[in-house]
Amino acid sequence: MTPPVKNDSAVHKFTGTENVKHFLISNSVPIIFIALSAIAIPISGFSAGYLIQEMLTRLARNSFLVLSLLIPIMAGMGLNFGMVLGAMAGQIGLIFVTDWAVVGIPGMVLAALISMPIAAFLGFICGSVLNKAKGREMVTSYILGFFINGIYQFVVLYTMGIRGLHIPITNPQLVLSRGFGIRNAINLTGIRRALDNALPLTHNFGHFTISIPLGTYVTIAAFCFFIVWFRRTKLGQDMRAIGQDMAVAGSAGIAVERTRVIAIVISTVLAAFGQIIFLQNIGTMNTYNSHEQTGMFSIAALLIGGATVSRASITNVFVGVTLFHMMFVVSPTAGKELIGQAQLGEYFRVFVSYGIIAVALVLHAWKRLQERERARRGLRGE
């Protein structure tokens, strides 16, 4: 047997400064937002206690939704603007639960169980449509969100509650005065803060007390373990392979189309659960609006955390949610202090949400173009 030959060309190690430079570039976005918040917080004049409490509640409220975006990114399908479909499924579940007046944790579990088949079905549709529009996944899932929103409104606004029809909604508070269709604002008294207060934990730091929604954090922790575990399964590995290069994965025998659909179905179902957790924290649900913003704000949060369209980690989620919501809480008051126009702060945070997504998409596309350029040059063995 010929002895293995030690090859000489050691792989190029990053020098110190290059490491720091690389770190700065890849996390440029979160750094900007940290700076932004550092300026805005003192101006806004919020007390530390209030901000910490606000961040804790908002972290609990949004993390699950943002985490559900990780799997499609891993499978190379970019930012899943179609998570709105999952949000709708979650809301349908909540409508039934509120109608049947099932309260507390059982109510939430029941809502989740109802929304699961709906979300899986919608996820399947979304996955198959995205397979038809390879290369244009994000804009297609965005438009699909609007399209399914139309159907959702048709179902919820025009069929639910009609006596004769198959969807019996009897609870008067839910149905519009004209006899059918669900109201826009529904009071989720039954499950309001059910999960948050499941394991109440209040802790006082000297002059202010903080209540930590432990129940939700435990659920979020469970979800993180699921993601870490999922990445180590064969299905997770297949998704990573497809995310890198569909052609190579396909030629190795991986069922590309099927795996992509599975990725979307999982993400949509988890978005449904995320929306339920989100709404139980807020306490009220506006049937026709709250799901539209979920997609956009979750994606903006994830990107602020330093994630890109092709790579996202759990830390990006938590950093992103904190920074995004810090900005969201602080900017209106900061705007008022600075220019005396609270409205300015409102529009500023809308601008930041849209702006960050635009910037992230541009950076991703530009970097990909350059990588393709460099790869081509690399191939030539320069």
């Binding site: 047997m1 010929t2 002895p3 293995p4 030959v5 030690k6 090859n7 060309s9 792989v11 190029h12 575990w229 180590r232 399964t233 064969k234 299905l235 590995q237 297949d238 990573r240 392979a241 890198q244 290069d245 052609a247 190579v248 994965a249 030629s251 190795a252 025998g253 991986i254 081509r376 040059r377 191939l379 030539r380 063995g381």
Partner: protein, 546 residues
Amino acid sequence: MSNRLDSAATPLLTVDAVGKEFFGNRVLEEVNFSLYAGEILGLVGENGAGKSTLMNILFGMPVISQTGGYDGRILIEGEEVRFSSPFDAIDAGIGMVHQEFSLLPGFTATENILLNRESTKYNPLVEVFGDRIKTLDRRDMRRRADEAISILGFSIDPEALGAEMPVGHKQFTEIAREIDRKSTKLLVLDEPTAVLAESEAEILIKSLRGLAERGISMIFISHRLQEVIDLCDEIIILRDGRVVKETKPAETSIFQVASLMVGRNVEAVSTERRLMEETETILDVQNLWVDMPGETVRDVTFSVRKGEIFGVGGLAGQGKLGIANGIMGLFPAGGNVTVKGEPLRLNDPALSLSRDMAFVAEDRRGVGLLLDEPIDWNIAFTAMQVQDKFVRKILGGLIKWRDDAAMREVALDYINRLEIRCTGHRQRAVELSGGNQQKVCLAKAFVVGPEILFVSEPTRGIDIGAKRLVLDTIRQVNEDTGATVIVTSSELEELRSVCDRIAIVDSGRISGVRDASRPAEEFGVLMLGESPSLVPAAATIGGETF
């Protein structure tokens, strides 16, 4: 080393009278050979000789079954097999290492080697969600990877990422992937050493020989004849889809293999060789480099006389196509090029076109045509953009109005001049046959009325009849308008039948310029980059003495 002698053993692979036809274009005919376990078969032949088609048949590629399947039989260990997909071939134990890498940049070597065959651990969820929920057994994967790498005899860092690996390592990782597949009995290597440095190629040869000793048989396709002679037990030379010779390395030499590869009796049609008198140089190229993917030009110097048909030949990937693309400014290029005495600034397609040069691109569908637009658009487009032809100036040139009537007229003129079979000047280019599409590209160049015309791969993918017509058209234009034509082609015979002088390009440099009347073998040798000294003083090649 080969157990061919004990005839009792049935051959691992037998190819019996295999043939293939693409749209009436006979590509493979009566190919017979057999291969025993642990034997290495060298497969050599010019581009377009049918090597890749043979491999596609063997590997069950869909392109074969979609175009009418193949005739003849393929037997694995004695029984006939018909693969409908690459996965059947893999199951039957055939592994394929392609020229362009199929590695995942973000995966480590271990993950790449075991792609879609990762070892996994069972967990109860599998009963509910199916086998893919099993978790990966990283330790076992590392063990299997180490084992495959050790068989290969070339130490790759199993944790190195695909993107960061040097080129040689990538090649070895792919081979390791095929080795790990326990069922692999036959390994097909398509030009594995093309991208490797000398030292890495030697290591690869040594490890392949190690594999053969372990009973894995191989088909080794390469242009580096020296490697084929060193490594293989059997050599098969393909030319025009037919097995021209099956020999053993001991019974032949590089020179003989090269001449058999290239030496083809020239079709009788080559017209009398006209004597090119020494006219002044119209195009002079000094130390040109062109950064074109897959066709890198490193340092090319040549000059072309006015009114000449100058040929540029060479094997695929050696850089011949880069020259025309570089001069026309389509790819980043450098060096000094003088056209009609004045230097030409490179990297500016518009400028090159404005210096009365035209280019018929090798990639017809990708670059040469507007498939979605009608024929008259395609023909008139470049002339309109560069020379404002077919445009009516209104308001003193402020608005340049497209003159559809003039475009129709020129289109109809060229349609009957070049006999383009079509339903009219408004038919969309996509609906034309390959030959007619090429004629449209030629017409597009002729309309510009160039003094220098670059034509790349004029006859690629065209049926025989149309090939002749295209070449005649080129010669016709040269004689009528006196335009200098530079034809780049991998078909040596065509160059010899059309050109006055032919330059051969090998690994980005010109290895020699010969008059077209020189014997084909001379060009063959230049093509293979062997130093001319290899040509023995008075060797007899195929009956012609030197």
